[in-house]
Structure formats: structure tokens, C-alpha cells
């Protein structure tokens, strides 16, 4: 059990260190999310409701996540490292878990910029929104990592990942926006928790079938 945890930690640390040195994905995500929020301001006609603005925040988060995810397996692919990882004596699902944790860290860092920017540009945040974003991060990272691995095997991976990702992320958007604007955020937050649990388990169990040759 602790060997598994050690594998996961090592893999996650590898991704974060690579990013620390290369410094390409995270700055892009940060800049993208602030640019997107700016575009949204101009896309919203005068007098738009706060609810519409909140909805657009979730869109910004989803597409920023997509941006980060499209880079998720790039490093491995370019250096042929994925085959090496798969041959390594660690459990394949550990690769998924390590990668997912790395993606979550990226998302959290991006949101540390995005949420204050949103509060500045539009309207103050509620704690429900922050809780929803935190819950959504797991779901987005979980399915995103698995789908990125699937797309990496295809010929048109930048095109394919958004297509695979968007239908699956619709429930997350429903849960997130609902929790942010509804009078009873509890049920929406509970739903996000359910989504996270169900899909995380599914991804964890099926990842090995996606990366084996």
C-alpha cells in the first residue's frame, strides 16, 4: 500500500518538477483564464445578471482545464517516456493517480488567479462557489487525465480531447453553476461529490486498459 502511495507521489512530483523547469503550461493557463474573463466582459451586454457572469466563470474554468490537459501527456509522448512508465513495476493506475494529482495542482494554481480576477472584474465570490470549484477540480482532473491518455493514442489528439471531454463535463458544469447560484446549493454540491466518486473510481479502474499496447 505504501509502495503504491510512494509511486503516486513520485509521479506527481515528476510532473510538477518538469513544469517548474519548463514553465510553459501553467503561465499559459493563467494568462488564458484572465484573457477569457476579459473576453467574457465584452461578451456580456450591459445589464447582464450576476448569474450569467457566474455561468461564464465555469466555462472559463472548463476551457482552461482543457488547455492544461492537452499538455498532460505531451512530455511523455515526446520523449517516449510513457512506454517506459507502463513497463515500470508500478501499478498502471498509479500513473493515472499521480497525473491526476498533478493536474489538480495546476488547476488550483490557475484558480488562485482566476477567482480573484473574477471577483475583481465581475462580482464577489460566495463560499459555495469556491467549494463547488474545489469539488469540480477532482472530477475534471480525473476524467481529463484518462481522456488525454486516450487522445494521445490517436492521430488528431488536440481535436479529439475537447470532443471527448465536453459531453462528460456537462454534469460538472450543471453541478457547479447550480451550487453557485441556487438557493439550495447542498444538493448540487452533493451531486458534484457523487460525480467525483463515481468517475474517479471508474477512471482509476480502467486506466490500465487505456495505456497498455
Amino acid at each position: 500500500m505504501s509502495a503504491y502511495a510512494a509511486d503516486v507521489a513520485a509521479l506527481a512530483r515528476k510532473d510538477l518538477l518538469l513544469e517548474l523547469r519548463a514553465r510553459d503550461t501553467l503561465p499559459a493557463m493563467l494568462l488564458f483564464v484572465v484573457s477569457a474573463l476579459t473576453v467574457f466582459h465584452f461578451a456580456l451586454p450591459d445589464g447582464s445578471s450576476e448569474r450569467a457572469e457566474t455561468g461564464l466563470l465555469w466555462i472559463a474554468i472548463v476551457f482552461t482545464a482543457l488547455l492544461g490537459l492537452s499538455r498532460a501527456f505531451i512530455a511523455e509522448r515526446e520523449q517516449g517516456v510513457l512506454d517506459g512508465l507502463v513497463l515500470a513495476p508500478c501499478d498502471r493506475s498509479a500513473i493515472w493517480l499521480g497525473k491526476t494529482l498533478g493536474v489538480m495542482v495546476f488547476l488550483v494554481l490557475a484558480e488562485l488567479v482566476a477567482l480573484p480576477a473574477f471577483a475583481l472584474f465581475f462580482h464577489p465570490l460566495s463560499w459555495e462557489l469556491v467549494a463547488a470549484v474545489a469539488l469540480a477540480n477532482l472530477g475534471i482532473a480525473a476524467i481529463g487525465t484518462l481522456l488525454a491518455a486516450m487522445a494521445a493514442a490517436s492521430r488528431a489528439r488536440e481535436l479529439l480531447l475537447p470532443l471527448l471531454f465536453l459531453p462528460l463535463v456537462i454534469p460538472v458544469v450543471i453541478g457547479g453553476v447550480g451550487a453557485s447560484v441556487a438557493a439550495n446549493p447542498g444538493s448540487f454540491l452533493a451531486f458534484l461529490g457523487l460525480y467525483d466518486a463515481v468517475f474517479a473510481i471508474l477512471c482509476w479502474a480502467s486506466f490500465e486498459y487505456v495505456v497498455t499496447e
Binding site: M150, V181, F199
Partner: protein, 236 residues
């Protein structure tokens, strides 16, 4: 493992299609006849309720196809036998066709009932839209991946995700309805009287038989295609 050797599927592929097609013809014609000539007209909706006997069986058949595809996908991951890939693919292919028909007939029903071609408050339609988008991406996944065990496994895992997405989306659309897009219009009426239920069941059985017959025919076609391609390589 060669696909050529998998053609010995026994009688099911030989007699299955004609039997199911005959069953489909009988059950569907019978069911529709019952729906129009025997079942009473709905008090609230009037004649337009007759679309129910078409739309709901198609929707349920689409779900059945997706479920069947997921089952075959699970078998593929479990046993590794390659024939399950084509079977899963064909089932999902059928599911998407029936899903599209669900959306079209549902839209017509919405138009005649409420005067709009689309309503975000109609939960079934919204759910099917999400599933239709999801399973259409399945095809994109298959078309952009080189044939082989990798594609088979990715498709199978994706098919499993789809069947998990069905209840999750159902729940999501349901809670969304309470606050985001209020369900002003709904078809969920009171319990069906006996005659309506009977006619409906016959139509449902007919639609499932139709899907089964089409599934076997389509599977045959795909298998022949694959075998011919294999032969071509062997003879080249």
C-alpha cells in the same frame, strides 16, 4: 488473432436476422395498429399523444443499445476476444441512430404539444442530447485512432463511461430543472390506462426486435468488411 476464424458463430447469425425482422414487422405493425385503432385517445393531449407509442419505445431502445454496447465492451476488456469490439461498435452505432430518431420524434412531439421545436425543460430530450454528443464523439475516437488493440480498448473504456454517464446525466438534468431551467412543460402524465399500456408494450417489443435485426445485419456487414480487408492483405 484473425477475424476470419471468428465467422463460425453458429446459427444465431444465420437465422437471427430473418427471425427478428419478422418479429419486428409483426410487433410494430400490430403495436401501431393497437395504438391507433384500439387504445383510447388521451383526455388532455388529444390525438397528438399517439406520438408516445413511437417516441418512447425508440428512446428505450436507444438506451438498450447503449447498454448492450457497454456489456460487449466489458466482455472485451475482460476476455480480450477481438470479436467483442465489432459487436460493441455496432451496438453503439445502432444506439446513436435510435438516439437521433429519439431527438427528432421528441422535437416533433414538443412542437405539436407546446409549439416549440426544442425545450430545455424537457428532461428526456436534454438527456438524449448529452448522450448523442457523447456517443458521436465515440465515432470520432474510433476514426482518429489506428485500428488495433489500442483502439479496441479505448473504445471499450469509452463505451463503459457512456453507460455510467446515463444515470449521472439523468440526475444532473433533474436537479438542473429545479433551479436553472424550470420544467414548465412535461409529458409525464398520470398512469396509463390498460389498453394504452398494452399497446405501448407491443410497440416497445417491436422496436427492440427492429433494433436487434438491424444490429445483426449491420454486424454481418462490418464483419464481412473486416474479413475482406484481411483477405486483401493476405493476397497482396
Amino acid at each position: 488473432m484473425s477475424l476470419l476464424s471468428d465467422h463460425s458463430r453458429g446459427p444465431s447469425l444465420r437465422f437471427g436476422p430473418p427471425l427478428l425482422a419478422a418479429a419486428a414487422a409483426g410487433l410494430l405493425l400490430g403495436g401501431f395498429a393497437l395504438a391507433f385503432y384500439w387504445a383510447p385517445e388521451d383526455a388532455d393531449q388529444g390525438f397528438s399523444q399517439k406520438i408516445f407509442y413511437l417516441h418512447v419505445p425508440i428512446a428505450l431502445t436507444a438506451y438498450a443499445c447503449f447498454g448492450w454496447g457497454a456489456w460487449k465492451a466489458l466482455r472485451l476488456l475482460w476476455t480480450g476476444e477481438r470479436r467483442y469490439d465489432l459487436e460493441s461498435y455496432t451496438a453503439i452505432h445502432m444506439g446513436v441512430i435510435f438516439g437521433l430518431l429519439t431527438l427528432i420524434t421528441g422535437s416533433i412531439w414538443a412542437k405539436v404539444s407546446w409549439g416549440v421545436w426544442w425545450s430545455w425543460g424537457e428532461r428526456q430530450l436534454v438527456l438524449f442530447l448529452i448522450l448523442f454528443l457523447f456517443y458521436s464523439s465515440y465515432f470520432m475516437l474510433r476514426f482518429s485512432t489506428e485500428p488495433g488493440p489500442r483502439r479496441e480498448r479505448n473504445s471499450a473504456v469509452y463505451a463503459l463511461f457512456g453507460v455510467v454517464l446515463i444515470p449521472v446525466s439523468f440526475l444532473a438534468v433533474r436537479i438542473a430543472g429545479t433551479i436553472l431551467h424550470p420544467t414548465i412543460f412535461t409529458h409525464e402524465g398520470a398512469d396509463l390506462p390498460g389498453e394504452m399500456l398494452a399497446a405501448f408494450c407491443v410497440c416497445l417489443a417491436g422496436m427492440l426486435s427492429l433494433a436487434g435485426a438491424l444490429y445483426l445485419v449491420e454486424l454481418s456487414g462490418k464483419r464481412i468488411d473486416a474479413s475482406l480487408r484481411e483477405l486483401k492483405e493476405l493476397l497482396a
